[in-house]
């Protein structure tokens, strides 16, 4: 199934060149979790990163569905 991974701001630097606006498409097997998808990329997988599924807060072992978007950004106070 096809899913998308999006990196925001400074995390974009680790994306491959084919990424458009920080988004890459991935073809992954059924049962792939948020964790499986995001761990393909070189970002810290601890509480210095925020990872959301379709903009929502979820557990990292949540299985993905066709068309899902996993987004990651660095945890830092702003605004």
């Amino acid at each position: 199934m096809m899913i998308r991974v999006k990196m925001l701001a400074n995390y974009r630097e680790i994306l491959p060149p084919e990424a458009i606006n920080g988004v890459v498409e991935l073809n992954v097997p059924m049962g792939t979790t948020v964790y499986d998808a995001i761990s393909k990329f070189d970002i810290p997988l601890d509480d210095t990163s925020v990872i959301v599924l379709n903009g929502l807060t979820v557990e990292l072992d949540t299985p993905l569905q066709e068309g899902d978007m996993v987004t990651a950004f660095s945890a830092i106070a702003g605004g």
Partner: protein
């Protein structure tokens, strides 16, 4: 005592009498400094029912015990007064250089009272204090005023002043310092204008003596190095300043768009941090001695929006940008420059134009009344409105009263997205429930800077909280409110200082901050004591609000937030579930079920009852 000078400068503008006062060390300790000292004096001396634009209002500039010390981001001051926009308290924070220079005059706090009979500025050069004519400055913008004052006093002086908006008593007028830094919110610039006080100029060499200078230096170096990812090269704040945030809030569906009609903006990529960096960024500019350096000098080199200045910050992008449906970055950058030059809060300015745009599109405001069409996304009309507001020209007179008064005058107060008549900042609380509770109860009306729970709900700092749930939020909001009262009283900037109030388990517990305060002041605070002092400050402010007629009956949210579900994005279908959070919040604060601090709570905090 160390850290504090324990000295206040009081300037009565009516009589032009200047006095200096000692601060009781017990009061200094119990109220921390900055915002805390200011409310202590206001509560003691001022009639809370006073008209904010009358001579009876007090205008207080207050530094904290960490201002002008080596503590990283120890460069802040607070402007505290009764707000003409909200009728509640204003406490607006600003950095840059002026606050450090102000503390080096040898005074921790300046109190301005009364009203000058003609425009004046106040020069404070240590013990030499003069009230001088500002006739030649009236009508000048912030940049011109700053340049003239430095030329006629000293290049070593630093200037805080108002622009045309403050002179004309626009209710979104800011007090600007070092040209680009703003004590922005709640109309503090209008209070300064009402006193005919155009500017304050500070200079001197009286650094506060420190209790333990060596310890202070060591902890400051360690803090700069290790306090978090923020200050490291390559962090988002280092690269983008706050302009990276639209990408985050758009992802979560809480980016205020078209006066909160939507939570996502389809053109966000045109106006976010990358677009700004790639097109207009010149270099980064820090506040004094800040290891993070999140400010950005920018320039639009040519074309109709040509200009040079600092910013825009996230809050400007989410108000003058997405709030107004504007996707032209050059125009947005220019709008930000204009607000800084006229001395205006970009949040209230942008969201007031946004409500006027919605009212125009719905047919509640006509082209005749406005003087031109005013559709969402019309960036030239937006810029025209800013100028009209600053000069109070035509329809600008209505706009300059803020969105609530504007919408009410034309029959649709339900369209104003305000609490206590102050406009929301850039987090739609329908998708960030804790922020909804914060806005509803904040002592200064809707504001993120009263206790930014978005740090957890949105940014994952110190830990990520689900923004769509209400469980645990009352306690979290109280924690953040107290932490911000503490930071605002200490003289630090929240962007870095939020890291000073975590313990090693990433829970909010101010071990590092209390240690810093001790190295500065020698007051021997425990973390418990500084948290209790912050609670004291917050609760005394609440008492002021109650006496000012801005009490619990105003702890609510506008119609759109309670009754119109978000139509798009991840938080689609959500409203703010305020009634699920408010009773528990009152309990956590030690207030009764109606929202009044209990006698027991006041006694516990040593406050009058």
């Amino acid at each position: 005592m160390y850290g504090w000078h324990l000295k206040i400068l009081r300037v009565n503008l009516t009589t032009r009498k200047v006095t200096t006062e000692e601060v009781d060390p017990k009061i200094a300790r119990d109220y921390l400094g900055g915002r805390g000292w200011a409310i202590h004096y206001m509560y003691k001396e001022m009639d809370p029912m006073a008209d904010p634009l009358s001579p009876a209002n007090m205008l207080i500039f207050a530094t904290g015990p960490l201002t002008a010390t080596p503590a990283p981001t120890g460069n802040r001051y607070m402007v505290v007064t009764k707000s003409p926009l909200t009728g509640a308290l204003a406490h607006s924070n600003s950095g840059g250089e002026f606050p450090t220079w102000m503390k080096r005059t040898g005074f921790d706090m300046f109190i301005f009272e009364g009203k000058a009979s003609e425009p004046v500025y106040v020069l404070v050069n240590e013990d030499q204090v003069e009230v001088r004519s500002a006739a030649h400055l009236w009508g000048k913008d912030v940049h011109e005023t700053t340049d003239i004052l430095k030329a006629e006093t000293s290049n070593d002086a630093r200037v805080a002043c108002i622009g045309q908006a403050g002179e004309n008593l626009a209710l979104m007028a800011a007090i600007m310092n070092d040209k680009h830094r703003a004590a922005a919110r709640s109309g503090v610039g209008a209070v300064m204008g009402s006193k005919n006080l155009k500017a304050v100029v500070a200079m001197g060499n009286k650094n506060p003596p420190l209790h333990d200078p060596e310890g202070m230096r060591a902890l400051s170096v360690e803090t700069s190095k290790n306090v978090g990812v923020d200050v490291k090269k390559g962090s988002n704040m280092r690269i983008y300043g706050t302009s990276y945030v639209p990408q985050v809030t758009n992802t979560l569906g809480i980016l205020p768009t078209r006066n909160f009609l939507q939570g996502t903006f389809e053109h966000v990529h045109n106006i976010d941090g990358d677009a700004l960096k790639d097109n207009y960024l010149i270099r980064h500019t820090p506040c004094y001695r800040c290891p993070l350096s999140c400010g950005r000098l920018t320039e639009v080199p040519d074309g109709p929006y040509k200009g040079k200045g600092e910013g825009p910050e996230y809050e400007t992008i989410s108000s003058l940008g997405t709030g107004c449906g504007v996707s032209n970055l050059a125009a947005l950058v220019k709008a930000n420059y204009l607000c800084n030059e006229f001395g205006m809060d970009t949040i209230t300015t942008g969201m007031t134009i946004a409500v006027a745009m919605e009212m125009y599109e719905k047919g509640y405001l006509s082209e005749e009344v406005i003087g031109m069409p005013l559709k969402f996304g019309d960036h030239d009309a937006m810029i025209a409105m800013i100028k009209k507001m600053a000069y109070m020209e035509g329809f600008g007179k209505d706009l300059a009263m803020g969105s609530y008064r504007l919408a009410e005058k034309y029959g649709h107060p339900e369209l104003a997205v305000t609490v206590r008549k102050q406009e929301f900042p850039g987090y739609d609380p329908r998708g960030s429930q804790g922020m909804g509770l914060l806005y509803a109860t904040s002592n200064k009306g809707a504001s993120h800077m009263e206790g930014d729970v978005a740090y957890e709900e949105v940014f994952g700092v110190p830990v990520k909280e689900n923004p769509l749930t209400t469980e645990g939020k009352p306690e979290l909001v109280k924690h953040f409110e107290d932490s911000f009262a503490l930071i605002d009283s200490s003289g630090l900037c929240v962007f870095v200082a939020i890291r000073y109030v975590f313990n090693k388990d990433r829970m909010i517990w101010p071990e590092r901050l209390s240690e810093m305060m001790n190295l500065s002041t020698g007051a021997g605070y425990t973390p418990e004591e500084v948290m209790q002092a912050a609670d004291r400050v917050y609760t005394l402010e609440r008492m002021f609000l109650i006496k000012a007629g801005s009490g619990p009956e105003h702890d609510t949210l506008p119609h759109r937030m309670l009754h119109e579900p978000l139509p798009d994005g991840p938080a689609k279908g959500k409203v703010v579930e305020l009634d699920k959070m408010l009773p528990e919040f009152y309990k956590k604060r030690g207030w009764d079920e109606k929202g009044y601090p209990t006698k027991e709570k006041l006694m516990e905090l040593g406050l009058p009852f």
